[in-house]
Symmetry: C2
Subunit: 123 residues, 2 copies
């Protein structure tokens, strides 16, 4: 399958799940997964999901501007680089963000998030 299509499908699934029910992202992280969220380092499925669920807003909407992807090496991983806008409920302006994912294959032929780095780029 075309890697760009896989990356786009992953990104769409990730942010749709984030915006509907963040606890659903649990399926995408494993115990060796890493998240760096605005400089804060968090490791492992449970800690990552707890962090995402506890973010201080209830409703949000991600709009994707760009998706780039590259193969990450012999382990058949894939790097996905996203830029977009995060609109929080009740806020007038969206926040620009960029985020990178390193997806690694699962034995079931799917992918999980091994690396995740998120940054807001205040405009």
């Amino acid at each position: 399958m075309d890697p760009d299509a896989v990356a786009k499908a992953f990104v769409e699934h990730y942010y749709t799940t984030f915006d509907m029910d963040r606890s659903g992202l649990s399926n995408l992280y494993q115990d060796n997964s890493m998240l760096t969220f605005e400089g804060q380092k968090i490791q492992g499925n449970a800690n990552i999901v707890a962090k995402l669920v506890s973010l201080p807003f209830t409703q949000c909407k991600h709009t994707i501007t760009t998706v780039d992807c590259q193969p990450s090496g012999p382990a058949a991983g894939m790097l996905v680089f996203v830029s977009g806008t995060l609109q929080l409920a009740g806020e007038q302006h969206g926040l620009k963000f960029s985020q990178m994912f390193h997806l690694m294959p699962t034995p079931q032929g799917s992918f999980y998030v091994f690396n995740d780095i998120f940054r807001l780029n205040y405009a």
Copy 2:
């Protein structure tokens, strides 16, 4: 050595070289290196350096806002995620950018850039 210190040292070296003499970046890419520059995919040391050297400005200055890093897996690679501002000579306002590097170890105990994805986030 502390991975965050390695990442910061790499980033400082990369952008200092970029701003002084882009052709000097040739030492950091190998023949299997990949660059996605504003959506354009380029592969291999020679093509990547040719692209960087041909960018339509002569003088520029990168200012780094954030540097995040994570280990990328068993191959001892390192993911480095950068946000910052690119100031072009003669332009009033800087351009926000974000960029990610996947550094892989060399037999000499150094690193080279295996993956490189660059995006401007127009503010």
